[in-house]
Protein backbone atom coordinates (compact mmCIF):
# COMPACT_ATOMS: atom_id res chain seq x y z
CA UNK A 1 0.00 0.00 0.00
CA UNK A 2 1.19 3.49 -0.74
CA UNK A 3 1.98 5.73 2.25
CA UNK A 4 -0.83 8.17 1.60
CA UNK A 5 -3.37 5.34 1.46
CA UNK A 6 -2.14 4.08 4.82
CA UNK A 7 -2.44 7.61 6.20
CA UNK A 8 -6.04 7.79 4.95
CA UNK A 9 -6.88 4.52 6.68
CA UNK A 10 -5.25 5.82 9.84
CA UNK A 11 -7.41 8.98 9.73
CA UNK A 12 -10.54 6.91 9.15
CA UNK A 13 -9.85 4.53 12.05
CA UNK A 14 -8.98 7.42 14.38
CA UNK A 15 -12.11 9.38 13.44
CA UNK A 16 -14.31 6.29 13.83
CA UNK A 17 -12.83 5.48 17.25
CA UNK A 18 -12.96 9.03 18.58
CA UNK A 19 -16.45 9.86 17.36
CA UNK A 20 -17.85 6.53 18.55
CA UNK A 21 -15.83 6.59 21.76
CA UNK A 22 -18.74 7.08 24.22
CA UNK A 23 -20.61 4.14 22.69
CA UNK A 24 -17.53 1.90 22.62
CA UNK A 25 -16.51 2.76 26.20
CA UNK A 26 -20.06 2.23 27.45
CA UNK A 27 -20.25 -1.15 25.77
CA UNK A 28 -16.92 -2.20 27.31
CA UNK A 29 -18.07 -1.08 30.78
CA UNK A 30 -21.28 -3.05 30.36
CA UNK A 31 -19.16 -6.19 30.01
CA UNK A 32 -17.42 -5.68 33.38
CA UNK A 33 -18.60 -7.12 36.68
CA UNK A 34 -19.23 -4.50 39.43
CA UNK A 35 -16.07 -5.52 41.31
CA UNK A 36 -13.98 -5.08 38.19
CA UNK A 37 -15.40 -1.60 37.44
CA UNK A 38 -14.20 -0.45 40.87
CA UNK A 39 -10.70 -1.78 40.27
CA UNK A 40 -10.25 -1.31 36.56
CA UNK A 41 -11.71 1.69 34.68
CA UNK A 42 -9.52 0.99 31.62
CA UNK A 43 -10.76 -0.15 28.24
CA UNK A 44 -9.43 -3.67 28.69
CA UNK A 45 -11.83 -6.17 30.26
CA UNK A 46 -10.15 -8.91 32.28
CA UNK A 47 -13.21 -11.07 32.94
CA UNK A 48 -15.98 -10.25 30.47
CA UNK A 49 -19.45 -11.09 31.74
CA UNK A 50 -23.03 -10.68 30.57
CA UNK A 51 -24.16 -10.33 34.18
CA UNK A 52 -25.18 -6.68 33.71
CA UNK A 53 -27.31 -7.47 30.68
CA UNK A 54 -28.99 -10.30 32.57
CA UNK A 55 -29.77 -7.90 35.44
CA UNK A 56 -31.19 -5.34 33.03
CA UNK A 57 -33.31 -7.83 31.12
CA UNK A 58 -34.70 -9.48 34.28
CA UNK A 59 -37.78 -7.75 35.61
CA UNK A 60 -37.34 -6.48 39.16
CA UNK A 61 -39.05 -3.94 41.42
CA UNK A 62 -36.42 -1.37 40.81
CA UNK A 63 -36.27 -1.79 37.10
CA UNK A 64 -38.66 -2.88 34.38
CA UNK A 65 -36.93 -2.06 31.14
CA UNK A 66 -39.67 -3.68 29.06
CA UNK A 67 -42.07 -1.02 30.27
CA UNK A 68 -39.87 1.74 28.85
CA UNK A 69 -39.13 -0.18 25.64
CA UNK A 70 -42.83 -0.81 25.10
CA UNK A 71 -43.69 2.87 25.71
CA UNK A 72 -41.01 3.96 23.23
CA UNK A 73 -42.15 1.39 20.68
CA UNK A 74 -45.78 2.53 20.78
CA UNK A 75 -45.07 6.27 20.93
CA UNK A 76 -42.42 6.10 18.20
CA UNK A 77 -44.72 4.03 15.97
CA UNK A 78 -47.52 6.58 16.28
CA UNK A 79 -44.99 9.36 15.84
CA UNK A 80 -43.61 7.92 12.62
CA UNK A 81 -46.74 6.49 10.93
CA UNK A 82 -49.17 9.33 11.60
CA UNK A 83 -47.08 11.98 9.77
CA UNK A 84 -47.06 9.80 6.65
CA UNK A 85 -50.84 9.36 6.81
CA UNK A 86 -51.61 13.07 7.16
CA UNK A 87 -48.86 14.33 4.84
CA UNK A 88 -49.33 11.97 1.89
CA UNK A 89 -52.62 13.40 0.50
CA UNK A 90 -51.47 17.00 0.69
CA UNK A 91 -48.07 16.07 -0.76
CA UNK A 92 -49.88 15.08 -3.95
CA UNK A 93 -51.90 18.32 -3.95
CA UNK A 94 -48.72 20.36 -3.46
CA UNK A 95 -46.89 18.70 -6.34
CA UNK A 96 -49.66 18.29 -8.90
CA UNK A 97 -51.87 21.24 -8.09
CA UNK A 98 -49.44 23.66 -6.47
CA UNK A 99 -51.87 23.80 -3.58
CA UNK A 100 -50.36 25.24 -0.38
CA UNK A 101 -46.98 25.57 -2.03
CA UNK A 102 -46.48 29.19 -1.03
CA UNK A 103 -47.61 29.22 2.58
CA UNK A 104 -48.49 25.84 4.06
CA UNK A 105 -45.48 23.94 2.70
CA UNK A 106 -42.75 26.39 3.81
CA UNK A 107 -44.56 26.86 7.11
CA UNK A 108 -44.48 23.16 7.92
CA UNK A 109 -40.95 22.62 6.61
CA UNK A 110 -39.63 25.47 8.74
CA UNK A 111 -41.23 24.02 11.87
CA UNK A 112 -38.35 21.61 12.25
CA UNK A 113 -35.84 24.43 12.72
CA UNK A 114 -37.66 25.80 15.76
CA UNK A 115 -36.51 24.89 19.26
CA UNK A 116 -38.81 22.12 20.51
CA UNK A 117 -38.99 23.64 23.98
CA UNK A 118 -41.21 26.38 22.55
CA UNK A 119 -43.97 23.80 22.05
CA UNK A 120 -43.26 21.85 25.19
CA UNK A 121 -44.75 24.29 27.68
CA UNK A 122 -48.07 25.01 25.88
CA UNK A 123 -48.43 21.30 24.98
CA UNK A 124 -48.07 20.44 28.64
CA UNK A 125 -50.91 22.83 29.49
CA UNK A 126 -53.07 21.54 26.64
CA UNK A 127 -52.44 17.90 27.57
CA UNK A 128 -53.37 18.52 31.17
CA UNK A 129 -56.73 19.84 29.93
CA UNK A 130 -57.48 16.98 27.52
CA UNK A 131 -55.99 14.28 29.80
CA UNK A 132 -53.16 13.27 27.49
CA UNK A 133 -50.38 13.84 30.02
CA UNK A 134 -48.38 10.69 30.73
CA UNK A 135 -50.02 8.70 27.92
CA UNK A 136 -48.32 6.90 25.04
CA UNK A 137 -50.90 8.36 22.65
CA UNK A 138 -50.13 11.91 23.78
CA UNK A 139 -46.38 11.41 23.45
CA UNK A 140 -46.90 9.76 20.04
CA UNK A 141 -48.97 12.70 18.79
CA UNK A 142 -46.26 15.17 19.76
CA UNK A 143 -43.57 13.06 18.14
CA UNK A 144 -45.73 13.07 15.00
CA UNK A 145 -45.52 16.88 15.00
CA UNK A 146 -41.74 16.62 15.29
CA UNK A 147 -41.58 14.26 12.31
CA UNK A 148 -44.16 16.01 10.12
CA UNK A 149 -41.80 18.50 8.39
CA UNK A 150 -39.37 15.90 7.09
CA UNK A 151 -42.20 13.49 6.22
CA UNK A 152 -43.90 16.15 4.13
CA UNK A 153 -40.66 17.05 2.39
CA UNK A 154 -39.72 13.45 1.57
CA UNK A 155 -43.21 12.64 0.31
CA UNK A 156 -43.34 15.78 -1.84
CA UNK A 157 -40.03 14.71 -3.38
CA UNK A 158 -41.38 11.20 -3.95
CA UNK A 159 -44.58 12.37 -5.66
CA UNK A 160 -42.62 14.81 -7.81
CA UNK A 161 -40.50 11.94 -9.11
CA UNK A 162 -43.49 9.97 -10.42
CA UNK A 163 -43.69 10.46 -14.21
CA UNK A 164 -46.77 12.53 -14.91
CA UNK A 165 -47.48 10.38 -17.97
CA UNK A 166 -48.45 7.50 -15.69
CA UNK A 167 -51.09 9.64 -14.01
CA UNK A 168 -52.33 11.02 -17.30
CA UNK A 169 -52.69 7.55 -18.73
CA UNK A 170 -54.79 6.53 -15.75
CA UNK A 171 -56.93 9.65 -16.21
CA UNK A 172 -57.49 8.70 -19.85
CA UNK A 173 -58.78 5.35 -18.70
CA UNK A 174 -61.36 7.26 -16.66
CA UNK A 175 -59.81 6.84 -13.20
CA UNK A 176 -61.11 9.42 -10.75
CA UNK A 177 -58.92 11.13 -8.20
CA UNK A 178 -59.33 8.77 -5.22
CA UNK A 179 -58.62 5.78 -7.46
CA UNK A 180 -55.71 7.55 -9.12
CA UNK A 181 -54.08 8.37 -5.80
CA UNK A 182 -54.70 5.02 -4.15
CA UNK A 183 -53.92 2.77 -7.14
CA UNK A 184 -51.20 4.67 -9.00
CA UNK A 185 -49.50 7.18 -6.73
CA UNK A 186 -49.59 5.28 -3.44
CA UNK A 187 -47.86 2.09 -4.65
CA UNK A 188 -45.16 4.12 -6.37
CA UNK A 189 -44.46 6.02 -3.15
CA UNK A 190 -43.89 2.85 -1.13
CA UNK A 191 -40.07 3.20 -0.97
CA UNK A 192 -40.49 6.78 0.27
CA UNK A 193 -42.93 5.57 2.94
CA UNK A 194 -40.36 3.12 4.21
CA UNK A 195 -37.58 5.71 4.31
CA UNK A 196 -39.83 8.24 6.01
CA UNK A 197 -40.97 5.66 8.53
CA UNK A 198 -37.47 4.49 9.42
CA UNK A 199 -36.13 8.00 9.72
CA UNK A 200 -39.13 9.13 11.76
CA UNK A 201 -38.98 6.09 14.01
CA UNK A 202 -35.33 6.72 14.86
CA UNK A 203 -35.98 10.42 15.52
CA UNK A 204 -39.00 9.62 17.68
CA UNK A 205 -37.23 6.87 19.62
CA UNK A 206 -34.32 9.20 20.35
CA UNK A 207 -36.43 12.16 21.41
CA UNK A 208 -35.94 13.17 25.03
CA UNK A 209 -37.36 16.60 25.90
CA UNK A 210 -41.04 15.79 25.37
CA UNK A 211 -40.69 12.49 27.16
CA UNK A 212 -39.16 14.35 30.09
CA UNK A 213 -41.90 16.98 30.28
CA UNK A 214 -45.04 15.15 29.16
CA UNK A 215 -44.62 11.82 30.95
CA UNK A 216 -44.08 10.91 34.59
CA UNK A 217 -44.72 7.17 35.06
CA UNK A 218 -47.06 5.23 32.83
CA UNK A 219 -45.71 6.44 29.48
CA UNK A 220 -42.05 7.19 30.24
CA UNK A 221 -40.00 6.40 27.11
CA UNK A 222 -36.67 4.58 27.07
CA UNK A 223 -34.47 7.69 26.75
CA UNK A 224 -35.97 9.22 29.89
CA UNK A 225 -36.14 5.87 31.68
CA UNK A 226 -32.42 5.35 31.09
CA UNK A 227 -31.63 8.63 32.82
CA UNK A 228 -33.37 7.34 35.97
CA UNK A 229 -30.52 4.89 36.50
CA UNK A 230 -28.22 7.79 37.11
CA UNK A 231 -30.35 9.33 39.83
CA UNK A 232 -28.11 8.45 42.73
CA UNK A 233 -30.19 6.72 45.37
CA UNK A 234 -27.96 6.19 48.38
CA UNK A 235 -25.52 3.62 47.04
CA UNK A 236 -24.50 5.70 44.03
CA UNK A 237 -24.74 4.70 40.40
CA UNK A 238 -24.33 1.04 39.47
CA UNK A 239 -22.17 1.72 36.44
CA UNK A 240 -22.29 -1.73 34.93
CA UNK A 241 -26.08 -1.88 35.00
CA UNK A 242 -26.40 1.71 33.80
CA UNK A 243 -24.06 0.98 30.90
CA UNK A 244 -26.05 -2.10 29.92
CA UNK A 245 -29.30 -0.07 30.05
CA UNK A 246 -27.82 2.52 27.68
CA UNK A 247 -26.67 -0.12 25.23
CA UNK A 248 -30.12 -1.75 25.22
CA UNK A 249 -31.77 1.66 24.84
CA UNK A 250 -29.55 2.64 21.92
CA UNK A 251 -29.80 -0.71 20.12
CA UNK A 252 -33.19 -0.49 18.32
CA UNK A 253 -32.45 2.75 16.40
CA UNK A 254 -28.86 1.62 15.86
CA UNK A 255 -29.86 -1.67 14.23
CA UNK A 256 -32.56 0.00 12.15
CA UNK A 257 -30.18 2.76 11.14
CA UNK A 258 -27.32 0.48 10.16
CA UNK A 259 -29.54 -1.83 8.11
CA UNK A 260 -31.04 1.14 6.28
CA UNK A 261 -28.09 3.50 6.36
CA UNK A 262 -28.15 4.26 2.64
CA UNK A 263 -31.75 5.43 2.84
CA UNK A 264 -31.13 7.34 6.05
CA UNK A 265 -28.14 9.21 4.68
CA UNK A 266 -30.02 9.92 1.46
CA UNK A 267 -32.99 11.45 3.26
CA UNK A 268 -30.74 13.40 5.62
CA UNK A 269 -28.98 14.99 2.70
CA UNK A 270 -32.09 15.74 0.66
CA UNK A 271 -33.85 17.02 3.78
CA UNK A 272 -30.98 19.41 4.46
CA UNK A 273 -30.29 20.60 0.93
CA UNK A 274 -33.88 21.16 -0.14
CA UNK A 275 -35.01 22.71 3.14
Amino acid sequence: MKPHVILRWFVFVTAALVMNFPVIATFITALKAPAEIARNPSLVVHNPTIENFVTVLTVSDRLNIYHYLWNSLIAASIGSILPIVVAFPIAWAIVRRGYGRNILFPLVVNLRALPLVIFAVPLYLMFSVVNLLDTRLGLGLVLAVVNLPLALMLLVNAVAEIPIELEEAARMDGARLPRLILRIVLPLCRPAFITTFVFGFITAWNEFLFGLILTTQKAVPMTVGASFFFATSGGGVQWGVAAAVMIVAALPPLLLGLIMYRKITGSMVSGAVKG
Binding site: F12, S42, G100, V117, P122, T223
Partner: protein, 287 residues
Protein backbone atom coordinates in the same frame (compact mmCIF):
# COMPACT_ATOMS: atom_id res chain seq x y z
CA UNK B 1 -71.29 13.85 -8.26
CA UNK B 2 -67.98 15.26 -9.36
CA UNK B 3 -65.99 17.47 -7.03
CA UNK B 4 -64.34 20.65 -8.20
CA UNK B 5 -60.52 20.59 -8.14
CA UNK B 6 -60.54 23.20 -5.37
CA UNK B 7 -62.82 20.98 -3.29
CA UNK B 8 -60.55 18.03 -3.92
CA UNK B 9 -57.54 20.07 -2.82
CA UNK B 10 -59.27 21.06 0.38
CA UNK B 11 -60.10 17.45 1.14
CA UNK B 12 -56.54 16.33 0.45
CA UNK B 13 -55.15 19.06 2.68
CA UNK B 14 -57.60 18.55 5.53
CA UNK B 15 -55.88 15.72 7.44
CA UNK B 16 -52.68 17.67 7.86
CA UNK B 17 -54.37 21.00 8.47
CA UNK B 18 -56.66 19.55 11.14
CA UNK B 19 -53.73 17.75 12.75
CA UNK B 20 -51.71 20.97 12.87
CA UNK B 21 -54.60 23.03 14.17
CA UNK B 22 -55.21 20.57 16.99
CA UNK B 23 -51.59 20.08 18.01
CA UNK B 24 -50.13 23.49 17.25
CA UNK B 25 -53.01 25.94 16.85
CA UNK B 26 -54.41 25.25 20.28
CA UNK B 27 -51.01 25.51 22.00
CA UNK B 28 -50.31 28.79 20.19
CA UNK B 29 -53.52 30.25 21.65
CA UNK B 30 -52.54 28.94 25.09
CA UNK B 31 -49.05 30.45 24.73
CA UNK B 32 -50.47 33.85 24.07
CA UNK B 33 -52.96 33.67 26.93
CA UNK B 34 -50.44 32.39 29.47
CA UNK B 35 -47.66 34.61 28.20
CA UNK B 36 -49.72 37.60 29.31
CA UNK B 37 -50.99 36.02 32.53
CA UNK B 38 -49.84 35.05 35.95
CA UNK B 39 -50.21 31.35 36.62
CA UNK B 40 -48.60 28.60 38.65
CA UNK B 41 -49.22 24.86 38.83
CA UNK B 42 -51.69 25.55 41.65
CA UNK B 43 -53.67 28.08 39.63
CA UNK B 44 -53.19 26.35 36.29
CA UNK B 45 -56.81 26.63 35.16
CA UNK B 46 -57.36 30.22 36.27
CA UNK B 47 -54.65 32.37 34.71
CA UNK B 48 -54.84 36.04 35.72
CA UNK B 49 -54.19 38.53 32.92
CA UNK B 50 -51.31 40.84 33.82
CA UNK B 51 -50.29 42.33 30.46
CA UNK B 52 -46.65 42.45 29.48
CA UNK B 53 -45.26 41.97 32.98
CA UNK B 54 -43.93 38.49 32.14
CA UNK B 55 -41.95 39.84 29.23
CA UNK B 56 -40.47 42.58 31.39
CA UNK B 57 -39.60 39.96 33.99
CA UNK B 58 -37.80 37.83 31.40
CA UNK B 59 -35.95 40.72 29.80
CA UNK B 60 -34.75 41.93 33.19
CA UNK B 61 -33.60 38.46 34.21
CA UNK B 62 -29.84 38.27 33.82
CA UNK B 63 -30.12 34.45 33.67
CA UNK B 64 -32.14 34.84 30.45
CA UNK B 65 -29.39 36.88 28.82
CA UNK B 66 -26.74 34.47 30.09
CA UNK B 67 -28.70 31.63 28.50
CA UNK B 68 -29.05 33.52 25.22
CA UNK B 69 -25.31 34.24 25.17
CA UNK B 70 -24.53 30.63 26.04
CA UNK B 71 -26.71 29.29 23.22
CA UNK B 72 -25.27 31.72 20.70
CA UNK B 73 -21.68 30.88 21.61
CA UNK B 74 -22.38 27.16 21.73
CA UNK B 75 -24.16 27.22 18.37
CA UNK B 76 -21.46 29.21 16.58
CA UNK B 77 -18.47 27.33 17.99
CA UNK B 78 -19.87 23.83 17.48
CA UNK B 79 -21.10 24.66 13.96
CA UNK B 80 -17.66 25.95 12.97
CA UNK B 81 -15.80 22.99 14.46
CA UNK B 82 -18.20 20.48 12.91
CA UNK B 83 -17.93 22.06 9.47
CA UNK B 84 -14.13 22.21 9.49
CA UNK B 85 -13.75 18.63 10.74
CA UNK B 86 -16.54 17.31 8.52
CA UNK B 87 -15.10 19.01 5.45
CA UNK B 88 -11.65 17.59 6.14
CA UNK B 89 -12.95 14.05 6.66
CA UNK B 90 -15.18 14.17 3.57
CA UNK B 91 -12.49 15.43 1.21
CA UNK B 92 -9.62 13.44 2.67
CA UNK B 93 -11.48 10.14 2.94
CA UNK B 94 -13.46 10.42 -0.32
CA UNK B 95 -11.01 8.26 -2.35
CA UNK B 96 -11.19 5.47 0.26
CA UNK B 97 -14.95 5.72 0.56
CA UNK B 98 -15.37 5.34 -3.20
CA UNK B 99 -14.14 1.76 -2.79
CA UNK B 100 -15.49 1.13 0.72
CA UNK B 101 -19.04 2.47 1.00
CA UNK B 102 -19.51 0.84 4.41
CA UNK B 103 -17.18 3.44 5.95
CA UNK B 104 -20.01 5.94 5.81
CA UNK B 105 -22.14 3.68 8.00
CA UNK B 106 -19.37 3.49 10.63
CA UNK B 107 -18.94 7.26 10.69
CA UNK B 108 -22.64 8.12 11.02
CA UNK B 109 -23.27 5.86 14.04
CA UNK B 110 -23.01 8.77 16.55
CA UNK B 111 -25.97 10.48 14.86
CA UNK B 112 -28.22 7.43 15.26
CA UNK B 113 -27.68 7.31 19.02
CA UNK B 114 -29.99 9.58 21.02
CA UNK B 115 -28.23 12.80 22.13
CA UNK B 116 -29.70 12.19 25.59
CA UNK B 117 -28.01 8.78 25.62
CA UNK B 118 -24.69 10.28 24.49
CA UNK B 119 -24.90 12.75 27.39
CA UNK B 120 -25.43 9.88 29.83
CA UNK B 121 -22.59 7.92 28.27
CA UNK B 122 -20.22 10.83 28.84
CA UNK B 123 -21.20 10.82 32.51
CA UNK B 124 -19.77 7.34 32.69
CA UNK B 125 -16.81 7.98 30.37
CA UNK B 126 -15.71 11.10 32.29
CA UNK B 127 -16.47 9.81 35.79
CA UNK B 128 -13.47 10.26 38.07
CA UNK B 129 -13.51 6.67 39.37
CA UNK B 130 -15.33 4.58 36.79
CA UNK B 131 -14.51 6.54 33.64
CA UNK B 132 -11.77 5.49 31.21
CA UNK B 133 -10.87 9.05 30.14
CA UNK B 134 -9.66 10.31 33.56
CA UNK B 135 -8.06 6.88 34.11
CA UNK B 136 -5.87 7.20 31.03
CA UNK B 137 -5.05 10.83 31.83
CA UNK B 138 -3.70 9.70 35.20
CA UNK B 139 -2.03 6.68 33.70
CA UNK B 140 -0.20 8.55 30.94
CA UNK B 141 0.11 12.13 32.19
CA UNK B 142 -0.12 11.76 35.95
CA UNK B 143 -3.01 14.22 36.25
CA UNK B 144 -6.51 14.68 34.90
CA UNK B 145 -8.60 17.80 34.36
CA UNK B 146 -11.99 17.78 36.09
CA UNK B 147 -14.03 17.84 32.90
CA UNK B 148 -17.31 18.91 34.46
CA UNK B 149 -15.98 21.71 36.69
CA UNK B 150 -17.01 25.33 36.12
CA UNK B 151 -13.84 26.12 34.24
CA UNK B 152 -13.90 23.10 31.92
CA UNK B 153 -17.55 22.19 31.42
CA UNK B 154 -18.11 24.42 28.39
CA UNK B 155 -15.18 22.89 26.49
CA UNK B 156 -16.35 19.41 27.47
CA UNK B 157 -19.86 19.81 26.11
CA UNK B 158 -18.57 21.53 22.97
CA UNK B 159 -16.36 18.50 22.32
CA UNK B 160 -19.22 16.09 23.07
CA UNK B 161 -21.60 17.90 20.71
CA UNK B 162 -18.95 18.27 17.99
CA UNK B 163 -18.00 14.59 18.05
CA UNK B 164 -21.63 13.56 17.78
CA UNK B 165 -22.62 15.89 14.91
CA UNK B 166 -19.47 16.20 12.80
CA UNK B 167 -20.82 13.14 10.92
CA UNK B 168 -23.76 15.26 9.73
CA UNK B 169 -21.49 17.89 8.19
CA UNK B 170 -19.27 15.10 6.85
CA UNK B 171 -22.23 13.46 5.14
CA UNK B 172 -23.38 16.65 3.43
CA UNK B 173 -19.87 17.49 2.27
CA UNK B 174 -19.23 13.98 1.03
CA UNK B 175 -22.38 14.11 -1.09
CA UNK B 176 -21.45 17.53 -2.45
CA UNK B 177 -17.88 16.41 -3.13
CA UNK B 178 -18.99 13.32 -5.00
CA UNK B 179 -21.41 15.43 -7.05
CA UNK B 180 -18.65 17.66 -8.46
CA UNK B 181 -18.53 16.78 -12.17
CA UNK B 182 -15.45 14.64 -12.88
CA UNK B 183 -14.61 16.53 -16.10
CA UNK B 184 -13.95 19.74 -14.13
CA UNK B 185 -11.32 17.90 -12.13
CA UNK B 186 -9.88 16.23 -15.20
CA UNK B 187 -9.63 19.48 -17.09
CA UNK B 188 -7.77 21.01 -14.16
CA UNK B 189 -5.52 17.96 -13.87
CA UNK B 190 -4.60 18.25 -17.55
CA UNK B 191 -3.59 21.84 -16.86
CA UNK B 192 -1.28 20.49 -14.18
CA UNK B 193 -3.17 21.82 -11.15
CA UNK B 194 -1.71 20.53 -7.87
CA UNK B 195 -4.10 18.75 -5.44
CA UNK B 196 -4.00 21.52 -2.82
CA UNK B 197 -4.74 24.19 -5.42
CA UNK B 198 -7.44 21.99 -6.91
CA UNK B 199 -9.15 21.94 -3.53
CA UNK B 200 -8.99 25.70 -2.96
CA UNK B 201 -9.69 26.90 -6.48
CA UNK B 202 -12.07 24.29 -7.85
CA UNK B 203 -13.56 21.91 -5.28
CA UNK B 204 -14.18 24.27 -2.38
CA UNK B 205 -16.05 26.88 -4.48
CA UNK B 206 -18.25 24.07 -5.82
CA UNK B 207 -19.10 23.04 -2.25
CA UNK B 208 -19.67 26.54 -0.91
CA UNK B 209 -23.49 26.38 -0.92
CA UNK B 210 -23.33 23.09 1.02
CA UNK B 211 -20.90 24.64 3.47
CA UNK B 212 -23.40 27.37 4.11
CA UNK B 213 -26.35 24.99 4.52
CA UNK B 214 -24.44 22.65 6.84
CA UNK B 215 -23.16 25.51 8.99
CA UNK B 216 -26.62 27.02 9.26
CA UNK B 217 -28.34 23.76 10.20
CA UNK B 218 -25.66 22.92 12.75
CA UNK B 219 -25.87 26.42 14.24
CA UNK B 220 -29.62 26.13 14.69
CA UNK B 221 -29.27 22.70 16.28
CA UNK B 222 -26.52 23.93 18.57
CA UNK B 223 -28.50 27.01 19.50
CA UNK B 224 -31.50 24.98 20.66
CA UNK B 225 -29.42 22.29 22.41
CA UNK B 226 -31.05 20.52 25.35
CA UNK B 227 -30.81 16.71 25.58
CA UNK B 228 -27.11 15.98 25.80
CA UNK B 229 -26.24 18.90 28.08
CA UNK B 230 -29.21 18.19 30.32
CA UNK B 231 -28.38 14.50 30.79
CA UNK B 232 -24.66 15.17 31.24
CA UNK B 233 -24.61 18.11 33.65
CA UNK B 234 -28.15 19.56 33.88
CA UNK B 235 -27.86 23.32 34.19
CA UNK B 236 -24.18 22.83 35.05
CA UNK B 237 -22.16 24.09 38.02
CA UNK B 238 -23.67 27.44 39.04
CA UNK B 239 -26.02 27.31 36.06
CA UNK B 240 -23.05 27.69 33.72
CA UNK B 241 -24.46 25.42 31.01
CA UNK B 242 -27.98 26.85 30.93
CA UNK B 243 -28.91 27.00 27.24
CA UNK B 244 -32.07 28.79 26.12
CA UNK B 245 -33.95 25.48 26.07
CA UNK B 246 -32.74 24.56 29.54
CA UNK B 247 -33.61 28.04 30.85
CA UNK B 248 -37.21 27.68 29.69
CA UNK B 249 -37.46 24.14 30.99
CA UNK B 250 -36.15 25.11 34.41
CA UNK B 251 -38.34 28.20 34.65
CA UNK B 252 -41.36 26.08 33.83
CA UNK B 253 -40.94 22.75 35.61
CA UNK B 254 -38.46 23.53 38.37
CA UNK B 255 -39.70 26.94 39.41
CA UNK B 256 -43.30 26.66 38.19
CA UNK B 257 -43.27 30.17 36.73
CA UNK B 258 -45.58 29.35 33.86
CA UNK B 259 -46.23 32.85 32.59
CA UNK B 260 -42.54 33.72 32.61
CA UNK B 261 -41.57 30.47 30.87
CA UNK B 262 -44.19 31.11 28.21
CA UNK B 263 -43.02 34.67 27.66
CA UNK B 264 -39.45 33.40 27.27
CA UNK B 265 -40.68 30.77 24.80
CA UNK B 266 -42.44 33.46 22.74
CA UNK B 267 -39.27 35.56 22.72
CA UNK B 268 -37.24 32.53 21.69
CA UNK B 269 -39.72 31.87 18.90
CA UNK B 270 -39.34 35.43 17.62
CA UNK B 271 -35.54 35.17 17.69
CA UNK B 272 -35.50 31.72 16.05
CA UNK B 273 -37.91 32.93 13.38
CA UNK B 274 -35.73 35.96 12.67
CA UNK B 275 -32.57 33.82 12.39
CA UNK B 276 -34.38 31.42 10.09
CA UNK B 277 -35.72 34.16 7.82
CA UNK B 278 -32.31 35.82 7.69
CA UNK B 279 -30.51 32.56 6.93
CA UNK B 280 -32.91 31.64 4.16
CA UNK B 281 -32.81 35.01 2.47
CA UNK B 282 -29.00 34.84 2.56
CA UNK B 283 -29.08 31.37 1.04
CA UNK B 284 -31.44 32.50 -1.70
CA UNK B 285 -29.06 35.32 -2.60
CA UNK B 286 -26.18 32.86 -2.84
CA UNK B 287 -28.00 30.69 -5.36
Amino acid sequence: MRLLPSQENAILASPMVLFLLALLGFPVVLSIIYGFSEASFQSLMSPKLIGIANFQLVLQDSAFWDAAWFSLRFGVITALLECVLGLFLAVYLAPLIRENGWMVAVLIIPMIVAPAMIGLMYRLVLHEFAGPVPYYFYEWLGWSPSFLSTGMVFQTIVVAETLQWTPFAFLLFLTAYQAIPQDIREAAAVDGTRPWRMFWKIELPQMLPTLFVAGFIRFIDGFRVFDNIYTLVGAGPGGSTTSMSIYIYETFLRRGEIGKAMAAAILLFVVAFAILALGQSLMRKRR
